[in-house]
Symmetry: C2
Subunit: 195 residues, 2 copies
């Protein structure tokens, strides 16, 4: 399988992340192994360890790819709405759509356990911050807060709330109260969050 | 292993649910098998199928047991607070505590996939409704709604929002914005939800 000279390190990384994304989309995060990724690329599993430290590292890069896609989808949404409330509503709807359309890859972001030592790479934190940045601006405007710590808290609260309805909706766990449609529940929540 | 005459059907059900709860607490829902439960009880796996239709049925009963425990913990909380807002805040804190103290069993409620045919037994729906009932009353009062469908929507929105912060908090996924403490995020959310 010694094809390791056919592609540059960067090409191999991109190909591996694409292959891993396909596997996660089809089988969920639990279906992902370096062996499967290597087989798809026609490389030996060992070749991947030249690029990624371990499976955790490959998962982080794969999830970062999903976060980048989410940011690319939500970015225009955030910039076209005219008020902070309209922006948050559009972002929430976009988030629900993304979760529905890419359920396994989206779930993988939350299913992956960070290393016990809490050593999450800065570049991954930056990727998360980049998505959260879309939520920060309208939240800060809406709440009229300027202190960064206060904006953090309010942003995390709004995002966590929307995430809760979306995660229960995608999992069909919202029907306890008879209100099955995630979008209707989301709209009800947004009305409260933006009032 | 022919101990099936030592216990009544009802005793065996109670013992099996207790054993299953212990296994889920220690190993998560994925660690639960009828074989392990039977081994703990000193029965053959086949004996369990006299009581439970299948593993799904055993999981539902085990999750119902967890829901009952949650309701028992949250019930006094809901009845002692003096205002709807204080009640919701106390319920949210109680929910976070329960999720922290019984993480695997609490997660099992959400990890278990209902059967594809959507055939969730009425008794299980009633158990969920019983917990949600604690949230319904203060939400209805706070929002000033009386139409049952509107109360359903508002209740599901509030519960979904709180659940989102709790699930991210328990999973240590709230640190994206630098606001790590679930309780602080929850309090920020509650202030918005109850204003």
């Amino acid at each position: 399988m010694g094809r390791r000279n056919d592609h540059s390190r960067e090409e191999l990384r991109t190909m591996a992340v694409a292959a891993a994304s396909d596997i996660v989309a089809a089988e969920g995060l639990r279906g992902l192994t370096t062996r499967k990724v290597a087989a798809r690329l026609g490389y030996s599993p060992g070749s991947l360890y030249v690029i990624f430290r371990n499976l955790d590292d490959l998962i982080l890069h794969t999830n970062a790819h999903t976060l980048e896609e989410l940011r690319t989808e939500l970015g225009p949404v955030a910039s076209t709405a005219t008020t902070p409330a309209a922006t948050l509503r559009a972002l929430a709807h976009g988030y629900l759509e993304f979760a529905r359309n890419h359920t396994n890859r989206w779930l993988a972001i939350f299913e992956h356990r960070f290393p016990e030592d809490g050593d999450v790479p800065d570049w991954y934190r930056d990727d998360i911050a980049s998505v959260m940045g879309l939520v920060r601006r309208p939240v800060a405007q809406l709440r009229g807060v300027t202190d960064p710590a206060a904006i953090d808290l309010e942003t995390t609260a709004v995002w966590g709330a929307v995430h809760g309805v979306v995660v229960l909706g995608v999992d069909a766990k919202l029907d306890a109260g008879g209100a099955r449609a995630p979008k209707a529940v989301l709209d009800t929540l947004l009305t409260t969050l933006c009032s």
